[in-house]
């Protein structure tokens, strides 16, 4: 070994790529980690298998009814995504339930994992801004989520096309694209929540459990809890009194919209089912003159769920901002 091997490389470091220093490097490394990791593999297989199975069942059911009725449902292609059967819930259900897990799996050990391995102090002593670390991690997770959900949607679409044999219309494609976008935002919310947990909690197990507990709460118990609160705040003593019933329903719906899961479900329902024309109670006088079962145009559907989209996006941003600020303010050897 000659002394030359230790000598300084005189090539001055050039920017490896444009953008904040280190962001791209962190992003690339995290992406490679995710895609090569067992966590992603397990979840991808789980989502893929359940998604394809439900699509298969839905498509079979649809083509049978199609043959029987002989009449064409104008949104038959969307039905591939939303039709369930007695044995299997629809594709959208699996995405709603499993995709948050994907977000949590990609984020729960983002920061505390680095800390516990002792790699964080090495990372922060490199000439990069500290936020490049958390930004890179978030972007890599987001990219993985986007790629995976897009691929899944395309696969399901291809399978549906094959089995049902009806090509989608432009409106259906746009609605599906909107569904995809909402789903990505929704999973990004869970990713940023998991990152927040990993910033605040010391143990990776603790942050995983916290994120999972929140997920469980929102997917299972939040609805029940909101119902209970609505019952307490606005009790219905006379089921025939429309005022009372309306008041209770208003409480339940509005409380429900604090939950990202309910926001997401309502948005998906509206986007993939053009017949949905309101997300609250409809009074008889409001539907007078409407054509029963007539679909809403895409623009109107979007208008209906616009607040939902904004709220989901805002929740994601708030979670990520909290994680970002917590991470930037932390002492490197706080623990």
């Amino acid at each position: 070994m000659s002394s030359a091997s230790l000598s300084r490389a005189h090539a001055q470091p050039k920017a490896w790529t444009a953008g904040p220093p280190g962001l791209w490097a962190v992003y690339r490394k995290e992406l490679a980690d995710h895609v090569g990791g067992w966590r992603f593999l397990v979840l991808a297989v789980l989502v893929l298998v359940s998604g394809l199975a439900s699509t298969y069942v839905a498509a079979r059911t649809l083509s049978e009814t199609l043959a029987a009725a002989g009449e064409l449902d104008p949104f038959i292609f969307l039905r591939v995504y939303t039709t369930g059967s007695a044995s299997l819930p629809p594709f959208t259900f699996f995405v709603a339930v499993l995709a948050p897990l994907l977000g949590i799996a990609l984020g729960f050990d983002g920061i505390n994992g680095e800390r516990n391995r002792g790699t964080l102090s090495r990372l922060v002593s490199q000439p990069i801004h500290r936020d490049a670390i958390i930004n890179g991690k978030f972007l890599a997770g987001l990219a993985v989520i986007a790629i995976m959900l897009t691929a899944l949607m395309l696969l399901v679409g291809a399978l549906g096309l094959q089995l049902v044999g009806v090509a989608p219309t432009l409106e259906e494609l746009l609605r599906l694209a909107a569904f995809l976008a909402v789903s990505i935002i929704y999973v990004a919310f869970w990713l940023s929540l998991a990152l927040l947990c990993s910033t605040l909690l010391r143990q990776t197990v603790a942050s995983a459990l916290t994120a999972l507990a929140l997920w469980l709460f929102f997917s299972l118990f939040a609805g029940l809890l909101f119902g209970l609160i609505a019952d307490t705040v606005a009790p219905v003593t006379d089921p025939l009194d429309p005022e009372q019933v309306l008041r209770r329903t208003a409480w339940e719906t509005n409380l429900g919209r604090l939950s990202p899961t309910i926001l997401y479900e309502e948005a998906v329902q509206t986007l993939l089912n053009p017949q949905v024309r309101s997300l609250g109670p409809l009074l008889l006088e409001q539907v007078i003159g409407s054509v029963a079962g007539a679909p809403l145009p895409l623009g109107q559907s979007l208008l209906l769920v616009w607040p939902h989209l904004v709220a989901l996006l805002a929740l994601t941003i708030v979670c990520f901002a909290a994680a970002y600020i917590a991470f930037m303010r932390q002492e490197i050897r706080a623990w």
Binding site: M1, S3, A4, S5, L6, S7, R8, A9, A11, P13, K14, A15, W16, P21, G22, A25, V26, R28, K29, D33, R117, G118, T119, S121, R122, L123, V124, S125, Q126, P127, I128, H129, E331, I332, R333
Partner: protein
């Protein structure tokens, strides 16, 4: 580490670098009027407080180019806090720091681009190979891919890990990890290297390899090195200067020889005496205690050794007295202050916490 040149060995003497005729590189040879190399690390009145506790207090420290400086002190003395302030990873409560002319807190990127830091308990991505870990660091430093590959390869060879470069870090031993850590620090071609407890948890042979590597680095690359450690014995071998850090204060600094001189300066003269047979130690004590100029005598009948504190050199008198009374004298000499004394003198009661005034007379000028 067969790749290391054998000609370069670490002999215990702290003054060794000065004897190598490379005066230009050695700040230790300043006494002969050489121009002092520029300061690369400068701290003035540096303080850091966590709540009520002062982790670092009034630190004044100047480290010059090419120097190996050992920051020594017991655990919790504030060494790591000092390092974090030098790197801009934590902000000083008071005082100023300049590293290579930059303020680490205001211009962290400029400092981090040329300062390599090996943290205590350095960690790697276990599923990645040693080479991949280093490549990641190279990318974070913005090295072009081709340059990075070459540099990583040469560093892996330099630290003797070329054979294990493509194995996952999971299977590395503690010593291998530490060497990988050194390579990792060097990826950015630093001008200053800060090592926090680099020898912790490594077997003696591994420690020697690491220290050899560090010493060679400083010599060949003219890299300035700051080593923090609580193991004075190990680190003093390669340090030009050491600073003793206790309870958040730098209570003494200088070469080991200077420190031991300083320590001897304030203390009374002590003569070491050894007698045979060992049981005679007690009798010898009684004999010597009566001598003129002797203030106290400690005897240990188990080893046959005595320590005689006196106001002037009474060695001749001691020898005569003992021989006259038929006690066989087998050892006699002035007590010199060595590492152990420095260690005990400065480190005792060194658990961080309440900080009292530093040991009298040991305050740096």
């Amino acid at each position: 580490m067969s790749t290391l040149p054998s000609e370069q060995t670490v002999s215990g003497a702290p003054a060794q670098p000065a004897e190598q005729g490379r005066a230009v590189e050695q700040p230790a040879t300043l006494a002969n009027g050489q121009a002092r190399p520029p300061a690369v690390i400068e701290a003035r009145g540096l303080c850091k407080r966590y709540g009520q506790h002062w982790a670092v207090r009034d630190l004044d420290l100047v480290i010059h180019e090419g120097e190996i400086f050992g920051l020594l002190g017991p655990n919790g003395a504030g060494k790591t806090t000092t390092i974090l302030m030098l790197l801009g990873l934590t902000d000083p409560t008071a005082g100023t720091v300049r590293v290579l002319g930059h303020d680490p807190w205001r211009e962290p990127l400029a400092v981090k681009a040329s300062v390599g830091y090996l943290p205590e308990n350095v960690g790697f991505y276990d599923d990645m190979t040693g080479r991949q870990n280093l490549m990641y660091t190279a990318r974070l430093n913005g090295l072009p891919e081709a340059v990075a590959k070459e540099r990583v390869q040469s560093l892996l060879e330099a630290v003797g890990l070329a054979h294990a470069a493509d194995r996952p870090v999971r299977v590395y031993s503690r010593g291998m990890r530490q060497r990988l850590g050194l390579a990792d620090v060097l990826v950015k071609s630093p001008r200053v290297v800060i090592l926090d407890e680099p020898t912790l948890g490594i077997d003696p042979a591994g420690i020697r390899e690491i220290l050899d590597l560090i010493a060679r680095l400083a010599r060949e690359e003219r890299v300035t090195i700051l080593i923090s450690s609580h193991l004075l014995h190990q680190v003093q071998q390669i340090c030009h200067r050491v600073g003793i850090f206790v309870g958040g204060r730098l209570i003494a600094h200088g070469s080991v020889a200077e420190l031991s001189q300083k320590l001897a300066g304030g203390a009374p003269l002590v003569v070491d005496v050894e007698v045979e047979p060992k049981e005679d130690a007690r009798r010898a004590r009684d004999l010597l205690a009566g001598l003129e100029g002797v203030s106290s005598v400690d005897a240990d009948p188990k080893t046959g050794r005595l320590q005689v504190s006196c106001s002037r050199d009474v060695r001749a008198k001691i020898a005569r007295t003992l021989l006259e009374h038929g006690v066989d004298l087998v050892g006699l000499g002035l007590h010199t202050y060595g590492l152990d004394d420095i260690y005990h003198r400065y480190f005792q009661g060194g658990d961080a916490g309440e900080q009292r005034e530093p040991v009298a007379g040991a305050r740096p000028a």
